[in-house]
């Protein structure tokens, strides 16, 4: 099983899907699912292999290298599996929508580009695939037109700035070492000076921080997520933003190496401490901003930023537990955020695109599978024990506490509490409470939407109860970075400073539920009643008005809203405004009147002659 075959299947599959779409939409759908499935199978077969393939295209004497190792495999399997689930979900979601061929082409193209990113062995192919991913994301974000165009524009401009920074880093590396092969660079770089390594880390990390939405470079994310079509938002938040995480790992631990990267920077302002603090700020502030949102997808988008902070905090902290926690959180976050966005998409499908949390409600009886997806998704997001979010967050908390950074631990822990408030509002306003009159006829989701939700819910519980399954892979990644191996068992982590044993917790909760259910059966069976047979102090329950959604945390909003104004976005918009007016001014040079152009040429020649007469440089 070779890597180039994988990428050929990915890209040609995308193009063929578009072609088939011109023939028949059913054929296109089936082919899209087959291609994604084939990719998952091929990536799964690559487990444990380390191979390298070199291609010479005669381009600047730079070979394009594809290689696979444990880290690449880990990201590749998440990308392909989640991509498959989102494509299956899109089968129903995009039915009857315009430009479906374009949508499937872009989804598969992005899938292939992400696989290319993780499998690339040298920086040129990395950059090529990175750019393919960036512009195809822009095209797909702007799918809905209108506000989506503006959101896409914000995204692509910031992404291009990041790519330019990455290009500067690459050029500097090429100029110094004359090669862009990652493995060779990692051995050559270890002899470089600390200042140069710091420059490289910063310049590459700017690109990855923009992609991973670390504060203060996160402003593209909320609108981009909110305006993109929902199954694509799932892919976007699950894996695409985490390509930034892959980049962080690549720079910090593969290229520069754990030994050097944890010592960069003067004295107290070490590079990884600053990055960890940025991660901590990214956890706290966006989580509280999420509480104020009234749009379901914006709320989840701000949580996407916040959870990215956990990952950055974990890997920047630099201990074996921290790196394992950060990488594990990337996988877990991908699973539950995809699940949450798919639940929102399921609700949108049946309620004709409603995302406003203030007008939904009570859909638990009409869409039970979407509710279960939402419930397990938010449990994972909060980090309730027995979900996968808890396992990865436990690793991060433990290392922060035991290594003596209680302020960072406090930021991480209070982030969880902010999350609890805002996602409960999300779940309550969508699924609990009174069902509005206009949604009385909402039907259940179709099977192709239920299937990904059920699979992902199951995955959340599986990785929560048996975290050893992904942890074995992550431990291998950590060992390959040079950290000491963790004592990973099937059900958790054994250690003498406090172990984690999820099987015990699971058994206890199961037995507890059984005992309490038996206790519940002592009483007489309860009579089922309609939702509007409700306590209203003896009055009839008013239709559509007996529902508490608007301003769900009103007392808290009054306290914290003044402190959470989005300065950063306002600053960037001002910068963009100045650039726009500057460009507007410069464009006035082209007046269209030939006389002016002749005058410019004459003035320019006159100034050249003047310079020659005065200072004679030529």
């Amino acid at each position: 099983m070779s890597l180039d075959l994988l990428l050929i299947v990915a890209f040609s599959g995308a193009l063929l899907t578009y072609v088939f779409g011109k023939i028949s939409s059913k054929m296109r759908n089936a082919f899209g699912v087959v291609v994604s499935l084939a990719l998952v199978v091929m990536v799964a077969l690559l487990y444990g292999q380390t191979e390298e393939k070199i291609f010479y295209f005669g381009f600047l004497n730079l070979p394009l290298i594809l290689r696979t190792n444990m880290l690449a495999w880990f990201f590749a399997i998440s990308v392909s599996a989640l991509g498959l689930l989102c494509i299956v979900f899109s089968l129903s979601y995009m039915k009857g929508r315009e430009r479906g061929d374009f949508y499937y082409l872009m989804m598969l193209l992005i899938n292939g580009a992400m696989l290319g990113i993780v499998f690339s062995g040298d920086l040129v192919s990395f950059f090529i695939f990175w750019e393919v991913m960036s512009w195809s994301t822009f095209l797909l974000i702007s799918y809905n037109r209108g506000k989506a165009l503006f959101a896409g524009m914000k995204y692509i401009i910031m992404s291009i700035l990041g790519s330019v920074a990455m290009l500067i880093g690459m050029l500097s590396l090429y100029a110094t070492y004359d090669t862009l092969n990652i493995v060779t660079l990692s051995t050559l770089i270890s002899s470089a000076s600390s200042g140069y390594l710091l420059f490289l880390s910063i310049i590459f990390c700017i690109a990855f921080a923009i992609k991973n939405a670390v504060m203060p470079l996160h402003t593209w994310l909320p609108e981009a997520y909110a305006e993109a079509p929902s199954p694509f938002t799932a892919v976007l938040s699950g894996m695409l933003t985490r390509m930034g995480m892959y980049g962080f790992l690549l720079i910090m631990y593969v290229m520069v190496g754990a030994a050097r990267v944890l010592n960069l920077g003067p004295g107290l302002f070490k590079f990884n401490y600053i990055l960890a603090w940025l991660g901590a700020v990214t956890i706290v502030i966006p989580t509280f901003i999420a509480m104020l949102q009234n749009d379901a997808k914006m709320l989840l988008a701000w949580h996407g930023i916040g959870q990215g902070g956990y990952m950055v905090l974990g890997i920047a902290f630099g201990t074996s537990l921290g790196v394992a926690g950060g990488i594990f959180h990337t996988l877990n976050h991908a699973i539950y955020i995809v699940l949450l966005f798919l639940s929102v998409a399921a609700v949108q499908y049946r309620t004709h695109g409603e995302r406003d949390l203030n007008s939904l409600g009570g859909l638990i009886k009409k869409m039970p599978i979407a509710f279960i997806g939402g419930l397990l998704g938010i449990s994972g997001l909060i980090g309730v024990p027995l979900t996968n979010g808890f396992a990865s967050k436990w690793l991060i908390y433990k290392t922060l506490i035991l290594e003596g950074s209680p302020f960072l631990a406090f930021a991480a822990l209070i982030g969880t509490w902010g999350t609890i408030l805002s996602v409960f509002k999300f779940l309550h306003n969508m699924f609990l409470g009174q069902l509005p009159e206009k949604y009385q006829d909402v039907k259940k989701s179709p099977f192709s939407m239920q299937l990904p939700i059920i699979i992902l819910s199951f995955a959340i519980l599986l990785f929560g109860i048996l975290p050893g399954i992904p942890l074995k892979v992550i431990n291998a990644i950590g060992v390959s970075f040079g950290f000491e191996s963790l004592n990973v068992t099937f059900w958790g982590i054994a250690s003498d400073t406090g172990a984690l044993n999820t099987i015990n917790i699971f058994a206890a909760v199961l037995v507890g539920c059984l005992v309490v259910a038996l206790l519940f059966k002592i009483g007489p069976k309860a009579t089922p009643i309609a939702q509007d047979d409700n306590y209203a102090a003896g009055a009839p329950v008013p239709k559509d008005k007996y529902h508490y959604t608007v301003d769900f945390y009103n007392p808290l909003y009054r306290m914290i809203t003044p402190y959470l104004k989005d300065f950063i976005d306002a600053f960037y918009m001002k910068l963009a405004g100045w650039t726009q007016s500057l460009s507007n001014g410069v464009r006035r040079i082209y007046t269209g009147y030939v006389g002016h152009y002749v005058m410019y040429i004459v003035l320019f020649l006159a100034s050249l002659i003047f310079i020659q007469l005065k200072w004679s440089p030529w």
């Binding site: 638990i364 309730v384 609890i420 409960f424 958790g492 406090g498 507890g512 539920c513 309860a526 007392p555």
Partner: protein, 296 residues
């Protein structure tokens, strides 16, 4: 031995929790210069509630309250009571902090399906006040975990048994004071009895509970009282070597909390959060800085 502990410890917690509920009504009555119900009154209430044929709003309504009470029972297994602690080696303080979430989450879900805005307002108040007390509580817990350099609560109790109570340990005194200031908020007694508030929001999340549901909710309330006080006794009053001393310490703390409950009225939610984020947070922050300075 282990299995015996797993069965005995939730039973003990249940008995002590119900005893505390009854004792609270009796002591409040005596403070009000009246006789009050017998101490076994909660038992009578629960028996009566189990005999009533209630109304249910759906599957989640039933499952939520079961999950909530199961979560409380499971949490008991992680708390040391004297020398009984069945699941001591399964994650420590962090697991306790997060299994504590299962109880309000269960009630929130089941109440949510009840589709009553009183329930929703009650839940929103519960979450807001929880955010309020979590800020100083997390600072206090992090201070203790940093001072004793462990995340296991059994370890913390053991260290206190060997040296001295954390409350009497001079660097941890400020954290202890902060914890005492937020203890009424954690237990949900006046002045922070905001979630139930029968006069304001018709008993909040329990507005649609009848019969067996209310019985389970009462038992859950008893257990959450037990858990709140047990956590404080374990972290700051040294735990104990045997269950009897442990329950005695819990009784003393509970009676002191009851005196505060009897004397004060109820705060509004934003007043409560402003209070919790002001003095207790500053005091616990000072406590954490002291511990960090000492460790250098």
């Amino acid at each position: 031995m282990h299995v015996v502990e797993i069965i005995v410890s939730p039973l003990l917690a249940l008995i002590i929790g119900i005893f505390f509920l009854g004792l609270s009504r009796k002591i409040m009555a005596r403070i009000h210069w009246r006789y009050g119900p017998p101490i076994t009154q909660p038992v009578i209430d629960v028996i009566r509630l189990f005999s009533q044929k209630a109304f249910s709003h759906g599957m989640m309504f039933n499952l939520g309250i079961i999950l909530s009470l199961a979560g409380s029972f499971v949490l008991i297994l992680f708390l040391p009571m004297g020398n009984i602690c069945p699941l001591s080696n399964s994650g420590g303080m962090l697991v306790i902090l997060y299994v504590m979430l299962l109880a309000p989450l269960g009630i929130a879900l089941s109440g949510g399906e009840a589709a009553n805005p009183n329930v929703s307002i009650g839940i929103s108040r519960k979450l807001i006040i929880a955010l309020g007390y979590e800020v100083p509580l997390l600072l206090v817990l992090l201070t203790i975990m940093t001072r004793y350099h462990t995340i296991s609560i059994v370890e913390i109790v053991r260290i206190q048994q060997n040296t001295t109570w954390a409350l009497l340990d001079l660097p941890l005194l400020l954290s202890g004071i902060a914890y005492i200031l937020i203890l009424p908020a954690i237990l949900g007694v006046r002045p922070f009895e905001i979630v139930q508030a029968p006069q304001e929001i018709s008993s909040g999340p329990m507005a649609e509970y009848g019969g067996p549901f209310l019985a389970l909710a009462t038992i859950q309330h008893a257990l959450s009282l037990f858990i709140g006080i047990a956590l404080f006794v374990n972290l700051f009053l040294g735990g104990a070597g045997n269950p009897f001393t442990f329950f005695l310490k819990m009784l003393v703390v509970f009676i002191l909390v009851l005196f505060i409950n009897a004397a004060l009225p109820r705060l509004r939610v934003e007043q409560a959060v402003k209070y919790l984020w002001r003095w207790p947070t500053l005091i616990s922050l000072a406590g954490m800085i002291i511990i960090l300075i000492i460790r250098r």
